[in-house]
């Protein structure tokens, strides 16, 4: 489904990703963990073209993102990938000028020319699924962080993405709200939704993922099934990171 091949990204003199390769098959969940500044978010943002990169390639199904794309000139190519890869942000990024329902139906109507009735019907079903049907007419600022993030997930699902990228979806939330969101993501995993999740929640990574990757210093230093990585870490960085993370 998603094949990343030797991804290399530099920001000025600073090398952020130093040739990372990663594959996620259909229906799999990959978790990316690791210390801050290790390149996790940047890696995720490269996959749907929010960041450009200088080396390697990203392949999503039949679509390919090559190095050094131009955000405007290659917009059509980027758009193709984004249509099949959803993205959930740490800061939710709901559209504040639209209601919850408006946030959900805007893109399908605009991008896929979906009729309003059909979009609304699907939106209502999705809101029900994330437990927020009562908030359909509310505006984002009237919602708690956890509710906003659940709306953001529903909004992404409206595009029927083949894969969803989660960029620290619970880092801005308190534990109670984080659990609401993690519950929704777990449900998606059970429904065999292809996902890559960057997270600081080790417990969650262990529970939902099919394989775990540890990013540090721009390298994928260690990866494997969660039981292996968490139960028997090989790499020194992984060991010290898990030790630190375990203190929380």
């Amino acid at each position: 489904m998603i094949h990343v091949d030797a991804l290399f990204k530099r920001h000025g003199e600073l090398e952020i990703l130093k040739g990372i390769s990663l594959t996620v098959n259909r229906g799999e969940v990959a978790a990316i963990i690791g210390p801050s500044g290790g390149g996790k978010s940047t890696f995720l943002r490269c996959i749907n073209g929010l960041e450009t990169f200088q080396g390697g390639a990203v392949r999503v199904g039949p679509h390919v993102l090559s190095a050094n794309l131009h955000p405007r000139k290659d917009a059509a190519q980027l758009q193709k990938v984004r249509k099949v890869v959803g993205f959930v942000f740490q800061q939710f990024n709901l559209f504040p000028h639209l209601s919850v329902l408006g946030n959900l139906i805007e893109a399908p109507m605009l991008v896929d020319n979906e009729p309003k009735e059909s979009a609304v019907a699907r939106a209502v079903a999705l809101l029900d699924r994330v437990g927020l049907l009562a908030k359909a007419e509310a505006y984002p600022r009237d919602l708690s962080g956890g509710q906003q993030q659940r709306v953001a997930i529903a909004r992404t699902l409206m595009m029927r993405p083949e894969a969803i990228l989660f960029d620290e979806p619970t880092s801005a939330l308190d534990p109670v709200m984080a659990n609401e969101v993690l519950g929704v993501i777990s449900d998606l995993a059970k429904a065999d939704q292809t996902m890559i999740v960057v997270t600081h929640s080790m417990r969650f990574a262990r529970q939902v993922s099919d394989h775990v990757h540890v990013f540090a210093g721009g390298h994928d230093v260690e990866f494997g099934p969660p039981d292996k990585v968490f139960g028997d870490p090989q790499h020194e960085t992984t060991k010290s990171f898990l030790k630190e993370a375990g203190k929380d």
Binding site: L50, R72, K83, F87, Q91, N93, E106, V111
Partner: protein, 541 residues
């Protein structure tokens, strides 16, 4: 001496069109001569468009008391009579006095009749008719001011040592004459309105004023506290101007003027306004010489010194001064009507400005370099030059490039273009205030950059910038007053015209201010309402 030279000039210009027209005759067979252009048009359309400024006031041209939207004055009567002789319908076209010759050049009018003095500089650039009035300059002071009885008294300081202050019309012959007379011994102060200086003398702010004789005579009843000092001096000629090359037209005008003079019709018109004086005898001398320059027919008419009694229609027109409620009752409806034009101008131009402003802002923020650079230049250029100049360019200079845009369209376009520069800066700031995550969220949902900009970013920016945009709308609303430069009579122009003709400045000012306030305050309220309503959606501000 000056007068003799003036007379000579007048004679020369009287003969010029005749001689020139005679020389052109052979060319007329094949194609119409350049000089025949306007005259041919006038004869074909059966109408003559003449430009004048009703703000100039009495006795030249000013709003009628019974219908302030129509004009009267000796120049209006003159144009009417001219129409009779030329067998065409005269059509008055309003223009700002100092822009009338520009209107002529831009082919917006065919003749200018508005107290324009003959000068060698103007005669060089335009065709001038023979004089239709001989004016002179009259010194006036307060009747109770014993300190001024002659021109020489002006050079004597007041007992407290203060120099005499004398008001003149800025840029007119009176200013030149008075500055020469005074030197360092008295102070000359320029005014824009004809009667402003007279009012200032009356109130004691000025010691004296020097005025053209028609104004001094016509407004004498309105300013009973003033009296003439000495005889009028430095005579000059009011002439009618046409475009360079329109010699056949000027020739026809000259012929009509000579006939009107010799028939006594000119005297009759001027007498109605109390401005027929002995200076006008000089016109007969000119007419007498006209026969030498080919105006035989006109010169053969018997001189009729207007001994026919004045009829009912000739009842003298004098200036009256209204005050108080009468002014409100008589003029408020006209002001309201002009306010309507102000509303229409603002209502049409501002949405255009906003639309263009948004597109410019988007182009500057998201466009490639070849879009950004010209837009930046556009904004800087339009912000850095006055609106008045831009309107002037569109209305008066574009016609020379073959683009002739009507006044109303010019005003709407000019305002929209000028304000689009300001709006674009506001929207640019508004767009930049939207967090970057909004664009990323829109793109990651599969929207194209254009969809993301116009469906996600711009709608949020629009909400943020409501207060400064409303502010700009109110500013534009008041800036519509600049449109008088392109001959539109909106509220402010109507105010100056009426306060000049009625002298009821205070009443007019209060009514005008009231109207502007009544129109702009509801907009503030509406804006506040929109802000509250849209603010409810919680856009980050």
């Amino acid at each position: 001496m000056n007068r003799l030279i003036g007379l000579l000039f007048a004679l020369v210009m009287l003969c010029l069109p005749r001689l020139a027209a005679a020389q052109e005759t052979p060319a007329q067979g094949a194609a119409p001569a350049e000089g025949g252009g306007t005259w041919a048009t006038i004869q074909k359309d059966k109408r003559l468009i003449w430009g004048s400024d009703m703000e100039g006031g009495g006795p030249f041209i000013f709003p009628r008391e019974d219908d302030p939207e129509k004009v009267t004055g000796f120049e209006v009567d003159l144009a009417d009579k001219l129409g009779e002789y030329l067998e065409v319908t005269p059509e008055f076209s309003q223009g700002q006095w100092d822009k009338l010759l520009d209107l002529l050049r831009a082919e917006k009018v065919q003749l200018v009749i508005n107290g324009y003095e003959w000068s060698p500089e103007r005669a060089e650039l335009f065709e001038a008719s023979m004089p239709y009035y001989v004016y002179a300059l009259q010194l006036m002071a307060r009747s109770d001011d014993a300190g001024i009885t002659s021109w020489d008294d002006l050079k004597k300081p007041r007992p407290d040592g203060a120099l005499m202050k004398i008001g003149v019309l800025t840029g007119s012959a009176s200013q030149e004459v008075m500055e020469e007379h005074c030197g360092a011994l008295c102070e000359v102060i320029g005014y824009d309105g004809n009667t402003d200086a007279m009012r200032e003398v009356e109130t004691g702010k000025l010691d004296a004023t020097l005025q053209d004789t028609p104004i001094a005579s016509f407004y004498a009843p309105s300013f009973p506290a003033l009296r003439p000092i000495g005889e009028p001096v430095a005579p000059g000629y009011y002439v009618i101007y046409a475009r360079k090359g329109d010699r056949q037209l000027i020739q026809a005008v000259n012929e009509a003027l000579i006939l009107m003079l010799r028939n006594g019709e000119l005297e009759r018109i001027y007498s109605r306004y109390g401005i027929w004086d002995k200076q006008q005898q000089e016109l007969f001398t000119l007419a007498e010489h006209a026969k030498f320059f080919g105006y035989e027919k006109a010169a053969q008419v018997e001189v009729n010194t207007a001994d026919a009694p004045l009829t009912q229609a000739d009842v003298a027109v004098t200036s009256t001064r209204k005050r108080g409620w009468v002014v409100v009752q008589d003029y408020f409806p006209v002001l309201v009507k002009s306010a309507g034009l102000t509303v229409v101008l603002a209502g049409l131009s501002f949405p255009l400005a906003v639309l263009a402003g948004i597109l410019i802002a988007v182009g500057r923020l998201y466009g490639p370099a070849w879009v950004r650079l010209p837009l930046t230049a556009y904004v800087e250029f339009l912000r850095g030059t006055p609106l008045m100049l831009q309107l002037y360019f569109i209305f008066f200079l574009l016609p020379e490039l073959g683009v002739n845009i009507p006044a109303f369209t010019t005003a709407v376009l000019g305002l929209a273009i000028n304000y689009s520069a300001y709006e674009s800066e506001i929207y640019r700031a508004g767009i930049q205030a939207i967090p970057g995550g909004q664009m990323e969220a829109a793109l990651s949902l599969g929207m194209s950059p254009t969809q993301a900009i116009f469906r996600v970013i711009v709608p949020q920016a629009v909400r943020i910038v409501i207060p400064p945009v409303v502010n700009d709308f109110i500013a534009l609303f008041k800036d519509t007053s600049v449109c008088s430069v392109v001959t539109l009579i909106e509220l402010t122009k109507r105010f100056t015209v009426l306060s000049m003709s009625t002298q009821a400045v205070v009443e007019m000012m209060l009514m005008t201010a009231f109207l502007y306030l009544v129109m702009s305050y509801p907009m503030s309220l509406i804006a506040r309402n929109i802000e509250k309503r849209l603010g409810g959606s919680g856009v980050n501000v």
